[in-house]
């Protein structure tokens, strides 16, 4: 078990977390912890825009948190439109915040 962690991010202090796992968010290495979801890692960082929408380019965060709304879409290891709230982190995972979600339909 990794030592308890207290830091300035949005992770609750005083909670023991799993082993540190490095992941890459938009190319930058970020430390995540085993057992976390991709959403937890992105949200804890404080940058709450997970993707921007296709039509009006609005920033979006997460909404339902339980896999229903598809508003937490990110690209992971090249696969578009995955739900950050359901994906557990894996060491070395490459996460991308989506500009224009991965929709391919023309409007």
């Amino acid at each position: 078990m990794a030592p308890e962690r207290t830091s300035g991010d949005l992770r609750t202090a005083g909670i023991g977390r799993g082993w540190p796992v490095p992941v890459f968010v938009d190319g930058k290495e970020v430390q995540a912890f085993e057992g976390e979801t991709v959403l937890a890692v992105l949200w804890a960082s404080g940058d709450h825009t997970l993707h921007t929408t296709a039509r009006t380019h609005e920033p979006r965060g997460f909404f339902c948190g339980i896999g229903v709304c598809f508003d937490c879409l990110v690209t992971i290891d090249g696969i578009v439109n995955l739900r950050a709230c359901l994906e557990p982190v894996r060491s070395g995972m490459k996460i991308k915040r989506q500009q224009d979600p991965g929709y391919t339909h023309a409007r």
Binding site: T12, T37, T49
Partner: protein, 455 residues
């Protein structure tokens, strides 16, 4: 879980299929592997969840997680699991797909930081990440209390809990709530916790706007009348960085609906559920249901329903005699009736009222996926659209990846309002598999297997 354990203990072989990484659903949600949370931070339901999860470790039970059931064809269910598609055969099927928070649109509701109460609770409770440092909780009904408690435990400061009803409105309902002491003591314990941490509760108020450009920077709340319409001039701004709303739930009935199960409309909850008999059987032979998809009632009711459905499924699969099943169903059926009376009273009291939909006009985004605005939907209705299906075809509302789960209820409310018809007269749109998006690459990777019960 409750259905699976009961059926397995009655001799049936059971496969549990769950889309999440861990079985247990919403109430018994676990923290991820690797977390070490001191016991003082854990709630009572944690221990009960672990106990029930422990019983899944039964020789008759196989658990498959991250397994999305995307459809049912005759006696098989179709499953997407780790990039592969399987069809699993079962003599009987128990569907217990749960519910999600009812989405409610208000100005600013698409800003990052506006969340559903359940989503905020999930992030705090199973990931120990704060949805915001200082939050506003707005909604109606007792479910806001456990959410507030989970947030406080995760060290979120709660600026206020905003409840749309007023205690004086509860009085006429006390009769039907009478005798439900365990529920009251639970609520009291939650309340007491809030009081001790100094979280103010504002009754007869609702959220009317989220402020901010790129993320939530504040919330505007207002007093409401009995119909939950905001009273002009009563607005007040609160500085927060996240807002969570909880105005009841909608059920995940898509799998049951696409399997041909009959639905029923609930006047109080203003939404659709799966119709079932006291033995939790649907109109489809061999398909049973349990939990929130039969009506919103909370975890205690869902557990009883799971027990009944597990017995009925084992009976259908032939591992339990009709006589034994009848005997064993009697007690949980009685419990269920009692809990259901209580749930109905709560739904009558806290169910949505017309003012909740007063922002569904003009430029309000209704469909989040396809960014369709209320005025586009209204124009479509003015042009003669009478169903959610025709609105979807014309405006794309409901055509995005969530497949209408977020906007469908609100589109229905706009239709009912503009056409001046009862909401129940607008049919639930027909659902076809796959009920959630499944990549083609997954559908093409087929490795099927057989089992006796899928649940």
């Amino acid at each position: 879980m409750s259905a699976a354990v009961t059926a397995a203990e009655s001799g049936a072989r059971v496969i549990v299929l769950d889309e999440y990484a861990k079985p247990g659903g919403q109430f018994f949600k676990r923290t991820g592997d690797g977390f070490a949370v001191a016991p003082k931070w854990l709630t009572r339901e944690h221990a009960r969840g672990e106990a029930l999860r422990g019983k899944l470790d039964h020789p008759n039970i196989t658990v498959l997680t991250r397994a999305l059931v995307w459809g049912r064809f005759d006696d098989r269910v179709m499953v997407a699991h780790e990039g592969h598609s399987k069809s699993i055969y079962g003599k009987a099927l128990v569907i217990a797909t749960g519910a999600y928070d009812r989405p409610v649109a208000f100005p600013g509701w698409t800003l990052p930081g506006v969340l559903t109460a359940g989503g905020a609770q999930t992030l705090a409770k199973s990931q120990w990440v704060k949805p915001g440092r200082r939050m506003l909780l707005a909604g109606a009904g007792p479910f806001l209390l456990p959410v507030a408690l989970s947030l406080l435990r995760a060290d979120v400061s709660i600026a206020a809990l905003v409840e749309a009803t007023r205690p004086i409105e509860w009085l006429p309902h006390l009769g039907s709530l009478w005798g439900q002491w365990p529920r009251f003591s639970e609520a009291w314990e939650y309340k007491d916790n809030l009081r001790r941490t100094g979280v103010p509760t504002l009754y007869g108020h609702k959220i009317v706007r989220a402020l901010g450009e790129k993320r939530v920077e504040g919330a505007v709340i207002a007093k409401v009348d009995r119909k939950w319409r905001a009273i002009p001039g009563s607005e007040r701004t609160i500085e927060v960085d996240a807002i969570a709303t909880g105005y009841g739930f909608l059920a995940n009935i898509e799998l049951a609906a696409s399997s041909g199960c009959e639905l029923r409309f609930d006047e109080h909850a203003r939404t659709w559920f799966v119709k079932c008999t006291p033995a939790m059987a649907t109109n489809k032979a061999g398909v049973f249901v349990a939990g929130e998809i039969t009506g919103i009632g909370g975890s205690a009711l869902a557990l009883e329903e799971g027990r009944i459905a597990g017995l009925s499924a084992a009976e259908f699969a032939g591992t339990l005699t009709a006589h034994a099943a009848d005997e064993q169903r009697r007690q949980p059926i009685w419990q269920r009736a009692r809990l259901e009376r209580f749930a109905n009273a709560l739904n009558a009291l806290f169910g949505p009222r017309p003012g909740l939909w007063e922002f569904l006009t003009d430029d309000m985004t209704v469909c989040r996926c396809e960014e369709v605005k209320a005025k586009e939907i209204a124009a479509c209705i003015a042009n003669g659209a009478t169903t959610t299906k025709s609105i979807k075809d014309w405006t794309r509302a409901g055509m995005g990846l969530c497949e209408g789960r977020i906007c469908r209820g609100m589109v229905g409310e706009i239709l009912a309002r503009d056409r001046d018809v009862a909401l129940c007269s607008i049919p639930f749109p027909s659902v076809r598999p796959p009920i959630k998006p499944v990549p083609f690459s997954t559908l093409l990777q087929d490795d099927s297997q057989s089992e006796s019960i899928a649940s």
